[in-house]
């Protein structure tokens, strides 16, 4: 995901979600007030530590990804911040309100939590499901709010269908509409695309992305790294304790050195002589099997823009047939596996 692009989502005239790569809005700056502040949060169940000494903050209007393997403590953290369970130690503020028993109802009025399971009443219609929650929130203009929420997720024409008759994707959209009812300052979305097929997941992600335009702070827990990379301004990687936090690009740069992937038609007889001493090239290694076919080399470089032309000239001078030279792209998945891959394997 490049640093200057984003996905903008909306609905076309038929109510179908559409997404397109347009302009990435810069994430909220340091001046934006924090929507979530977490300090040394720990949760222990019996003798098992689910969350250990986690601290971070999320700015207002930010889409924040909370990543980690199963059992990493993501859902527990969301439940603490959503005032469903209390921390063993540490503190947090949500929407500017300290998390605690006395302020729980006030926080719940200003946030919404969409659990992994949509949790709809199957025998009630979509509208009846939403009306129940609108009444629990004590909302004025209930019918208008329900209509707006359904329109936002493209479900106006299914308003009177029984929730039990909807597909999983539509149920997830209904749950999203329910989360929009109280116009929350902070939305917690726990694995919103879990179990959805690619098309339904794509639609739900488009809807989440559209929340940016509403100025809603989105706290998204997921273990689908592609969607985190696509949606989130920043991500935190969690495995009981916090492993890292930052923008996806920054995390890639922190963990991985810049490198060039070079492919030539035939393996170089003396690659050391070709790559040695080139400007900005710090080292190299062969990655392709020398079986007479195309051969690959990975060059560690300090500056890709300076190294690439020099490498090209050196290869041409050595008589090599260059098939490709490209800067290596590390995905968020690479970052994730680097940080929690071993721990994840062990836990399985």
């Amino acid at each position: 995901m490049s640093g200057d692009s984003t996905l903008h989502a909306g609905r076309d005239e038929t109510g179908t979600a559409r997404t397109g790569r347009v302009v990435r809005r810069p994430p909220p700056g340091p001046a934006a007030p924090a929507a979530i502040e977490v300090s040394h949060l720990t949760k222990v169940f019996g003798g098992r530590t689910a969350v250990s000494d986690v601290s971070f903050s999320v700015a207002g209007g930010e889409v924040f990804g909370f990543l980690g393997p199963n059992g990493a403590g993501k859902t527990t953290t969301v439940r603490i911040l959503g005032t469903l369970i209390s921390p063993t130690s540490g503190s947090a503020t949500v929407a500017g309100i300290p998390v605690g028993p006395a302020s729980a109802a006030e926080i719940r009025q200003r946030i919404s939590v969409m659990p992994e399971s949509p949790g709809l009443y199957q025998r009630l219609t979509v509208t009846e499901n939403l009306e129940y929650f609108a009444r629990l929130y004590g909302l004025p203009r209930r019918q208008a709010r329900i209509s707006e929420a359904l329109a936002a997720v493209g479900l106006s024409d299914r308003a009177h269908d029984l929730a039990g008759s909807l597909s999983k994707g539509l149920r997830q959209r209904t749950a999203l509409a329910r989360s929009l009812l109280n116009e929350p300052a902070v939305m917690f979305l726990d694995e919103p695309t879990s179990g959805l097929d690619p098309v339904a997941a794509h639609e739900v992600l488009g809807l989440i992305d559209a929340l940016r335009d509403r100025g809603v702070t989105v706290f998204l827990t997921t273990h689908r790294l592609d969607e985190a990379e696509r949606l989130c301004d920043r991500v935190a990687i969690m495995s009981t304790s916090l492993r890292t936090i930052g923008r996806p690009d920054d995390l890639r740069q922190e963990l991985f050195s810049t490198s060039l992937d070079v492919t030539v038609a035939v393996a170089l007889p003396e690659p050391g002589r070709v790559f040695g001493g080139l400007p900005a090239v710090q080292g190299w290694k062969a990655v392709g099997p020398p079986d007479g076919g195309p051969a690959g080399y990975v060059l560690t470089v300090s500056d890709a823009a300076q190294a690439a032309p020099a490498v090209t000239r050196a290869l041409v001078a050595a008589g090599a047939d260059v098939l490709s030279i490209a800067q290596s792209r590390h995905t968020l998945e690479d970052v994730y596996l680097e940080l929690v891959g071993d721990a994840g394997e062990r836990s399985r």
């Binding site: 659990p115 009444r135 936090i245």
Partner: protein
């Protein structure tokens, strides 16, 4: 209307809508009352007018006891299901993320079960009395009309229903399996039913004073049970199955986070 009252109303409305939509619940809940109506009514209609007064009295005792089980048994299973059932269906967690309090939720659920259970109890008694007055022989009709259990039933039907509901709800908020909740709730509803049986069959002499004292005691217990169940309603326990632990005052130690300079910083 206060926000709390409105939320209780919302819960009642939702619960009743779910009952209405689930015809199987309505049908199965109606089977027992119908049986408790048919048996005693048939007993009253088949007894001969010349029967001895002791035999007639025994039949009347039996006939007026069985319908009293309707407000005990009908709400028991519904209330036992109401919280743990929602938990198993996954509908409880979204509700718990709203501002509704535990007390509002349990009062709403209790009221939604109480109203149809009591209405059904009165209906069964009303139909039984109406049939016996219209179709039974004069001595039998008079025996039913003058039975002291009849006015007592008017008082005890709501009190017994409330007992069963609070027992069911209390168990439903504490166990994690619907079947366990329903079995325990049936056991929990037996003590007042047994007491009613002892009085109906005149093992305990049902004097006005005793009935009034029992009714008063049951009323106090029902009111106290409302408070107890509201306090038993623990969001954390319902979500995680583990009760909320005590908060530690000692700060936890930091470990394994990088880059530490990023923490607590805004983008």
């Amino acid at each position: 209307m206060s926000a709390g009252t409105a939320r209780v109303g919302a819960v009642i409305r939702k619960e009743l809508a779910e009952f209405r939509r689930n015809r199987l619940i309505v049908t199965t809940a109606a089977v027992l009352p119908v049986l408790f109506l048919i048996g005693p009514t048939a007993s009253m209609l088949t007894i001969k007018a010349s029967a001895l007064s002791t035999a007639l009295d025994k039949r009347v005792d039996y006939a007026l006891f069985l319908p009293l089980l309707v407000p005990v048994l009908v709400p028991t299973l519904m209330s036992a299901y109401s919280v743990v059932g929602e938990r198993e269906q996954g509908t409880l967690e979204p509700v718990l993320t709203t501002p509704v309090s535990g007390a509002e939720l349990v009062i709403g659920k209790a009221a939604a079960i109480f109203m149809p259970a009591v209405a059904l109890g009165y209906l069964i008694f009303g139909v039984f009395v109406a049939i016996t007055q219209l179709a039974a022989s004069s001595p039998v009709a008079a025996a039913v009309r003058q039975a002291p259990q009849l006015p007592a039933a008017l008082v005890f039907i709501p009190l017994l229903a409330a007992w069963s509901i609070w027992v069911g709800l209390a168990i439903s908020t504490r166990v994690s399996d619907t079947r366990v909740a329903q079995q325990l709730s049936v056991l929990g509803s037996l003590p007042p039913a047994a007491l009613a049986a002892l009085m109906s069959f005149q093992v305990i002499s049902p004097t006005f004073g005793l009935a009034a004292a029992l009714a008063g005691g049951l009323l106090v217990i029902d009111c106290a049970a409302c408070l107890v169940v509201a306090r038993l309603f623990d969001r954390e326990r319902l979500i995680t199955g583990v009760r909320a632990g005590r908060r530690s005052t000692a700060p936890a130690t930091s470990r394994g986070t990088r880059p530490s300079s990023e923490l607590n910083s805004h983008p």
